[in-house]
Assembly symmetry: C2
Homo-oligomer: 199 residues x 2
């Protein structure tokens, strides 16, 4: 009794199983402590399948991280759809980001292990293709048209750093509201300075 499946279906299902198990183990035990034998065992395949679909363990992690970042971007986009002023858009986006990063494991995946495993430039690329792009857009609106590209980039980078640190702190048990208020104050000040360039 053998059900005939297409090749793309086979690949998709095995990749999906591998990514799901890898994601859970990377979150539970971390990248270094997660062995490929354990991953394939729980996914119901062999190491041969893994190394057929992914170049190495790092590529598996990268796929997990990219999928997670894409999902986060979708959630942010859904939760911050309606916003009138640029400040509101920024604050809504920030709150949506915090809400998304509350899902267990995301902080560890994207803020702790990601930079160490894939490097900061690769993580920055992933971030820019997902959530970071919208943040930069919001910052650009907030700063006004007289802000140079480089200043927009730096400002967005610094604000993004605060967001990440806040998510990290909340993941460690800190009060979310306190960080949200602090960041909201900073963003408000930032935008009120629109006329005379802040940075």
């Amino acid at each position: 009794m053998q059900e005939r499946r297409s090749n793309s279906n086979r690949s998709q299902e095995t990749c999906s199983a591998l990514l799901g198990v890898a994601r859970r183990l990377f979150i539970e035990k971390g990248y270094a402590a997660t062995g490929t034998p354990e991953v394939v065992e729980q996914a119901g395949v062999t190491r041969g399948a893994l190394y057929h679909h992914f170049k190495d363990k790092q590529a598996l992690f990268q796929a997990v991280a990219e999928a997670e970042a894409a999902q986060i971007a979708r959630e942010i986009e859904a939760n911050s759809a309606h916003a009138i002023t640029s400040v509101e858009a920024l604050v809504h986006g920030a709150n949506a980001y915090f809400e998304a990063m509350r899902k267990p494991g995301r902080v560890r995946l994207l803020l702790l292990e990601g930079p160490a495993v894939l490097g900061p430039e690769e993580m920055r690329r992933i971030d820019m293709e997902t959530g970071g792009r919208e943040l930069r857009h919001g910052i650009k609106d907030a700063l006004g048209e007289n802000a140079s590209t480089i200043k927009i980039d730096i400002c967005a980078d610094l604000v993004s750093a605060m967001f990440d640190r806040a998510a990290l702190a909340c993941d460690a048990g800190a009060d979310i509201k306190a960080y949200e208020n602090a960041i909201a104050s900073l963003l408000t000040i930032l935008v009120q300075r629109k006329s005379e360039p802040l940075l």
Copy 2:
């Protein structure tokens, strides 16, 4: 011909050799790609000596990270000795931090690998015992006496996050002056708000 050395001297010299080689390899190749056989070979000892002085590879990394953080704290303290106002102290401290973090490898050690290998809470502990303590003190002065402890902590955490991100960007080739100016502006705004509490 055998020179009689004290036990503490023997330990100190082997530990020093191990830490020096480990530091260089951790910086050059990263934590995961650095093997203990390579470390002990270049240090002129055996793995037995390593595992006698350090519990495991992670403990070796932690010792390297703590030594580096302590050295950075010393450099900051030396370079920001004289400051009149609290703002000046903050800006001087920030510039001293950037200058210290320009030394090759420190960004990778303390901002990339450290959080992944030792965990964020351990890195925060190390930071608080070295440079972070002075930053928090400066922030407290800048915010004034009416700021609550929790607000001081959060503000210092967020500012520290910006410092770290700036150091990371500069390590990747970004313009240091641009980030320094951006942070200086933000700090100025922060402190000008002393009367009506910012956070």
